[in-house]
């Protein structure tokens, strides 16, 4: 099978079944050089199954996978040599130190990044000789990211790299992932965080029950949405529903925390109308927020399900 010439990773018609359940159903996507591609989906959408199939940890039932032009199913060892990966469900021995781990893993590759350089790059120099079990969650994830880079790969595959991290550690890791992109590396990133996908990824593939239901840049996906912008506001004196409904360009309205939430086809006109109505009635606008359509809206629109209540399809994990 011939790989697309330019893609760092190319996945075609990948399927994976667990007994009677289709965990991944004909998924196709490609990651271009220097691109961060996000696999976005709720828990159980099939992200980890795809990533583990790409890495050869699972045997797919059908489909093709090319890593840097190498057929990953026919030449798994060669393919693994060309990729760096961080797994969601993996750890190191309690008593191993970051320096030992980096040196041990690097030794398997003909060309590798020196441990000292990686320790410095990932702010682990001070922790180089402490045992793994004494590292914080963020430090552990930074170490895994460093391990993914020991073989100087052009393609990195990161499975939920920020899962379980505190906000500070998450921000640090986001910075490191952006740095990887600026170094010219390609990244396949799985996440169930809408914000993370929006902030980090050049393109996103939205997964739902094993299917890739949409692919595009975050802005493209959002622009395709038919969801209207929403305004939420509170006023000093209660407003009648009829008054709210009469505001310009309003398409829907509902009470919201003592105020109103309205959908509008023209944000500017609606806000102008609201301000004018307040002035005419001697009322006062206390609070006003604009909610543009988000990836969550895109998901809701595509699946008919709320993001946080999407069902799990993978009986093993993810």
């Amino acid at each position: 099978m011939v790989a697309p010439p330019t893609a760092s990773l190319s996945v075609r018609e990948l399927t994976k079944r667990y007994h009677a359940i289709d965990a991944v159903r004909g998924v196709s996507f490609a990651v271009a050089p220097g691109e961060i591609f996000g696999l976005l989906g709720p828990n159980g959408a099939g992200k980890t199954t795809i990533i583990e199939s790409v890495l050869g940890l699972r045997q797919s039932d059908s489909g093709s996978i090319f890593l840097n032009g190498i057929d990953a199913q026919a030449q798994p060892v060669q393919a693994r040599r060309a990729v760096g990966a961080q797994l969601q469900f993996a750890a190191l021995q309690d008593k191993i130190t970051p320096r030992q781990a980096l040196k041990c893993f690097a030794a398997f590759y003909p060309e590798s990044t020196p441990a000292e350089k990686l320790l410095a790059q990932f702010s682990l120099t001070e922790k180089a000789d402490v045992t793994f079990d004494s590292l914080s969650g963020g430090q552990k994830q930074r170490l895994f990211l460093a391990l993914a880079l020991v073989n100087q790969p052009r393609l990195l595959i990161l499975d939920e790299p920020t899962a379980g991290l505190d906000p500070q550690s998450r921000r640090e890791l986001h910075g490191l992932i952006r740095q990887l992109k600026s170094d010219g590396r390609s990244v396949l990133l799985s996440t169930h965080s809408l914000d993370e996908a929006h902030q980090l990824c050049d393109r996103i593939g939205i997964l739902h029950t094993g299917r890739l239901i949409a692919t595009g840049t975050p802005d493209e996906l959002i622009s395709r949405s038919s969801t209207k912008p929403r305004l939420t506001f509170r006023v000093a004196q209660p407003l009648d529903a009829a008054v709210v409904g009469a505001l310009p360009a309003v398409t829907a309205r509902q009470p919201h925390h003592g105020g109103w939430m309205i959908s509008t086809s023209d944000v500017n006109r609606t806000i102008s109308g609201l301000v004018q109505t307040m002035a005419e009635n001697g009322n006062e606008l206390i609070d006003l927020q604009i909610h543009r359509p988000s990836l969550e809206d895109v998901f809701l629109e595509l699946t008919g399900r709320d993001w946080t209540h999407s069902p799990s399809t993978d009986p093993v994990r993810d």
């Binding site: 050869g56 060892v77 990966a85 797994l87 993996a90 191993i96 041990c104 030794a107 398997f108 590759y109």
Partner: protein, 444 residues
Amino acid sequence: MNRGALFSGLLGHFLLTLQLNLRSKQALIYGYLVPIFFLLAFGSVFRADTPPLLAEMGQILTISILGGACFGLPTALVAERERGVWRRYRLLPVPTLYLVISTLVARLLIVGSAVVLQILLAHFIYRTPFPVHPGQLVAAFLPVAFAFMGLGLVVAALADDVPAVQALGQCFFLPMILIGGVGVPLVALPGWTQRLAGFMPGRYAVDALQRCFTDPLGLNQAGFSLLALGVIGAAASVVGAKLFRWDTGRRTTRTTGLWLLLAVLSWIAVGAAAAFTGRLQPVVSDATSFDTITAAQMDAITYEDLPGDNELVTRLSPPFSRSADPRRFDEFVAKLTAWPPAQTGEAGQKVRNLLSVAAIADIAADLHEAEIGRAVFDELQERVARDQLRRILTWIILFPDAGNVITTAPELGLKRHPPENIVRERSVLYAKKYLGRLLGKIHD
């Protein structure tokens, strides 16, 4: 893949495994503290022996190797699998089997260091002599470790978690300790248990290791034991490698049972081969057996069935003092006197070894078979007290299948290798001829 990177990677993994082992309390407990505990336990029971613990070193070392292989190895493997370490290893550009082998080699070194530690501690605490064949001890250690680490791999493949390792490991450990001739010596076990032990690798491990400590011939007579360990180890290693699970998500499959059957079959095959070749005869304690021989038992021995001294079998020359040229056989006598199996400290075995020489010469129809028979008789009288020699000869006559016999002695010019059962049979005939003479029932 790049051979240099492969070698340096596996070397790095091997050294890392050793380092992590030394940092793990659990590994130190299983690897070193438990063996020392067993050494001290044996020492508290057998310290009055002369020399102390020498006769039990095979058992003690087998327990250490068994513990390290059946508990230490799978505990480490399963703990790492549970943590996801092996999932991370799978991302390396190296077949997983290579990393398993690297782990096994590291474990071999760990278990080997525990064995050396035990030998040193036994020597310095109890004055237990060092093995008479240290080089052969290394040669015996390797197949013993191979057999038991194969079992450890099977345990690791079957156990879903660390507590399950303990349960499964005990399934191998306890039977071998209690009825397999490892913890409780074979002589203390009933006959059916001794035969059952012939189907377990522990018995062969003890035999091979013990010979390196006390048998002047070392491993020369341990061929079957080494082969048995090799067969069991090979089957277990193949099964363990085939069933190896690098991920907790991978469960045993329907074919697991068939693979396990292969491992079990190797035990059955070894036991059956041992039974078929007469190696599962009752083992009787030398010390207690000939010491308890009574005068009545001695008197009950009959001599009518003995062939004459000049007949076809069991020829025996007149005493050398009456020979025309008593010095013409001095060279053989000198060799026999210096022959290591005749030096062994255990009197019963010493007599059996010397009787074997007469028997082999007789079976081989050696030109000097009659003189060799006489030389052996003289040597026995020279080396063993008369009363003890009578009882030992009686015991050998009454229990022809007990103990070990030697079936070849090229260093004495006896290069033939007759079957063991015929050597035993002729040994009994010579024993009768000697006993009859010692008791004055046969005229010399």
